[in-house]
């Protein structure tokens, strides 16, 4: 006895909503039917063109055609519009297919209920079911849509761009077409002399920078936190408040200000060095000193954050451990080495990895402070302090090398994502998230 179930399923496979109508869920059925008619009409019209556009990226470039005596501009295919339009349509189609599958499953389930002799849910009951049992999904709908179109779609598109030749001067629409080139961009980036030299140079500096920046801010923060936390230090709150000030000033401001502070000619830092009889240092204009400067300034920006985190960890260390150590006659240094440090290291390893990943992407410090300069002659559009991200930004905004920028983005992503997933899986929040009930 699966009469109703089979009929309803087949009907809703044929057309969305028919199964529901058969199941006497009229409002739901009509609503679904309307969706089917409107979107079916839309997709039949648009889908073939969208797929053609995605596959070929257009075949007629915009060009001048001689009409009579004059040349006329004939608009051809705009590759990037085709790419983006195709992507949007595919996403919409994906949503439609999902809805279709849900519709079939719903008809199937209701048919089964009817076969068992129960009456199908009324529209009111359906609404209640959705707001009650599907409440989390309901809450997630709005955020999910915004993330889908403003985050996921752009990322998908950026990934696709890495496999095209979308770059100035040869392949910028609407005048020229863009083509799929497969992995050619990556191969150029890693093997073509002019690009690979810059890529490896910038990549190595990015790694060095991330390691030094993470280590200096971490240990700086640890030192400050330990100093404040010492027994006998007074005004702990005041010290903390002072040290947190750099964190409270917007980075945009503090970094632009630092740029002036370190100004080689008129900046106060060099002025003070002059008082001590030390010559002026080329803080921002010499490749080596520029690197030193970004690291110093990054310490100024980053130490407060580490300090706050480590102060938090320090308060969590059980006091009786110290008492026990004191009874055994341990010195302050021994307590630090055997109790405090291992505890802090254990608690902060995941943060260390996150900070490392964050430093790989530390756009602000580099871009606002040095703008990637000083210029390096044999680099493709990059300076001595450019990280991969700032290079990417320049390639996009100033040089229109969109395909290279996207390829670099993917490479950064692979590095950062693998680091973060690894650390997230080790972190307590992943393993123990259901501990507190």
């Amino acid at each position: 006895m699966r009469r109703h179930q089979n009929t309803a399923t087949i009907l809703s496979v044929l057309m969305m909503g028919l199964g529901q109508l058969y199941n006497r869920q009229f409002i739901k059925g009509i609503l679904l039917l309307c969706v089917e008619i409107v979107s079916g009409y839309y997709f039949i019209q648009k889908l073939p063109h969208a797929i053609w556009g995605l596959v070929t990226l257009g075949d007629t470039p915009t060009k001048l055609v001689k009409v009579g005596k004059r040349y006329k501009n004939v608009v051809g295919d705009h590759s990037v519009n085709l790419l983006i339009g195709g992507l949007v349509l595919l996403i919409l189609f994906g949503l439609f297919v999902t809805l279709y599958v849900m519709n079939v499953r719903d008809a199937n389930r209701t048919g089964k209920l009817r076969d068992e002799g129960k009456s199908p849910a009324s529209f009111k009951e359906t609404v209640h079911f959705v707001t009650d049992k599907r409440f989390p999904q309901l809450l997630l709908t709005l955020p999910a849509i915004s993330v889908l179109f403003l985050t996921i779609m752009p990322i998908l598109m950026a990934i696709l761009l890495a496999f095209t030749n979308y770059s100035a001067p040869e392949h910028i629409p609407p005048a020229k077409l863009v083509d799929w080139v497969g992995f050619q961009t990556f191969i150029d980036l890693l093997q073509l002399k002019t690009w690979s030299h810059t890529f490896y140079g910038v990549f190595i500096w990015t790694v060095i920078w991330a390691v030094i920046a993470t280590v200096t801010t971490y240990f700086g923060g640890l030192l400050v936190a330990l100093l404040i936390d010492q027994k006998g230090i007074r005004f702990k709150g005041m010290w903390r408040s002072i040290f947190i000030i750099p964190y409270a000033i917007p980075q945009l401001i503090s970094l632009l200000v630092m740029r002036n502070l370190f100004n080689g000619q008129f900046g106060p830092i060099n002025q003070y060095l002059g008082y001590f009889g030390i010559g002026k240092l080329p803080w921002l204009t010499d490749p080596f000193w520029a690197k030193v400067t970004v690291i110093i300034v990054n310490m100024w920006v980053g130490i407060p954050v580490s300090m706050v985190l480590i102060l938090g960890v320090l308060t969590a260390i059980p006091k009786d451990m110290y008492e026990a150590a004191e009874v055994d006659g341990a010195t302050a240094f021994q307590k630090l080495r055997v109790i405090t440090l291992p505890f802090v290291f254990f608690a902060t390893t995941p943060i260390l990895i996150t900070q490392f990943a964050g430093n790989i992407n530390n756009f602000n410090v580099i871009f606002l402070l040095t703008n990637g300069d000083p210029v390096k002659g044999d680099y493709q559009y990059a300076g001595s302090t450019d990280l991969l991200v700032t290079w990417l930004y320049k390639l996009t905004l100033n040089n229109n090398k969109y395909n290279f920028a996207s390829a670099i983005g993917i490479i950064i992503f692979v590095i950062v994502a693998s680091l973060s997933i690894w650390s997230y899986r080790r972190s307590r929040s992943y393993k123990e998230e259901d501990m507190i009930q």
Partner: protein, 279 residues
């Protein structure tokens, strides 16, 4: 050396180091403040404390024809406030759902979010730019607000961590008393999450207040600029010739944020450390 003298020695060394670090920490802020009060326009100054302090640069910011500082201030305030409201709404909704309910695909969703959050924002920049161009949203504030708000959803793990710590028995009891999910969310959870709402509100507000990467990309005409773009432009084009005015502008941008920060420091520190122990 006795224990006591050793202790005094240790403490005095510590105080000296702490004082040096404290000076380093506040020096740039004080320097900019004094620079903004200094007559003239040059970066160079003989003395640290200005000899004839003046407020003329602050006035100049709003009256000078080459800057539209008042306008930028208003734009920024508008964008930051609207993004704050929208992203607080989106983040709270999604993180509440992800924290309190167990449903199919939840773990996958969390991992996806984490992975998406790791894409460098600049990677999608080209794409967003082209999208906005298509939708005719380039040079509008709506575009910025949308981008900021959707971006904040992905960094909402701290909020999830917060909801994770609220005992499950609370809503179970309410359920038994017949409350619907919506009632529980509205009447119990939202009031409880006030500190967290403050935290998201503050971070998204300041985020929008100081962002210049997207703002610079999207906002084309000068009267639509935000403070960040304007200040960036000031440094890029008038680096040394107009330094005191830049300093005055810096003070005006940083002060509201610092006041907010001082006011809400407790929440911020809580949020940071909560995020820390939860990864």
């Amino acid at each position: 050396m006795s224990m006591k003298t050793r202790n005094i020695f240790r403490l005095s060394v510590s105080y000296v180091i702490l004082t040096i670090i404290a000076i380093c920490a506040i020096y740039p802020a004080v320097w900019v403040l004094f620079s903004s009060l200094r007559p003239g326009s040059s970066l160079f100054s003989e003395t640290f404390i200005p000899k004839n302090p003046t407020f003329v640069h602050f006035k100049e910011l709003f009256t000078s024809p080459s800057f539209q500082f008042g306008r930028w201030y208003w734009n920024t305030l508008k964008i930051a406030t609207l993004s704050m409201i929208l992203s607080t709404l989106l983040t709270t909704l999604s993180m509440y759902a992800l924290s309190r309910f167990r449903f199919k695909g939840r773990k996958a969703l969390l991992t996806t979010m984490l992975v998406l959050g790791m894409f460098p924002g600049f990677m999608s920049m080209v794409a967003i730019y082209i999208l906005l161009l298509q939708l005719d949203l380039l040079d509008t504030h709506a575009a910025l607000i949308l981008v900021y708000s959707s971006g904040s959803v992905l960094s909402g793990f701290i909020v999830k961590g917060f909801y994770d710590t609220i005992p499950r028995s609370l809503d179970e009891a309410a359920r038994i008393d017949g409350a619907s999910h919506l009632t529980i969310f509205w009447r119990i959870m939202l009031p409880l999450s006030r500190p967290m709402l403050t935290y998201i509100g503050l971070t998204t507000f300041t985020g929008a207040w100081v962002d210049f990467i997207f703002a610079r990309l999207v906002l084309r005409s000068k009267e639509n600029w935000t403070l960040a773009v304007g200040m960036w432009d000031m440094v890029a084009t008038f680096q040394n010739s107009n330094f005191t005015m830049f300093a005055a502008g810096s003070v005006l941008i940083a002060v509201p944020i610092m006041i907010l920060f001082a006011f809400l420091q407790k929440f911020l520190v809580q949020g940071l450390t909560a995020g820390a122990s939860k990864g």
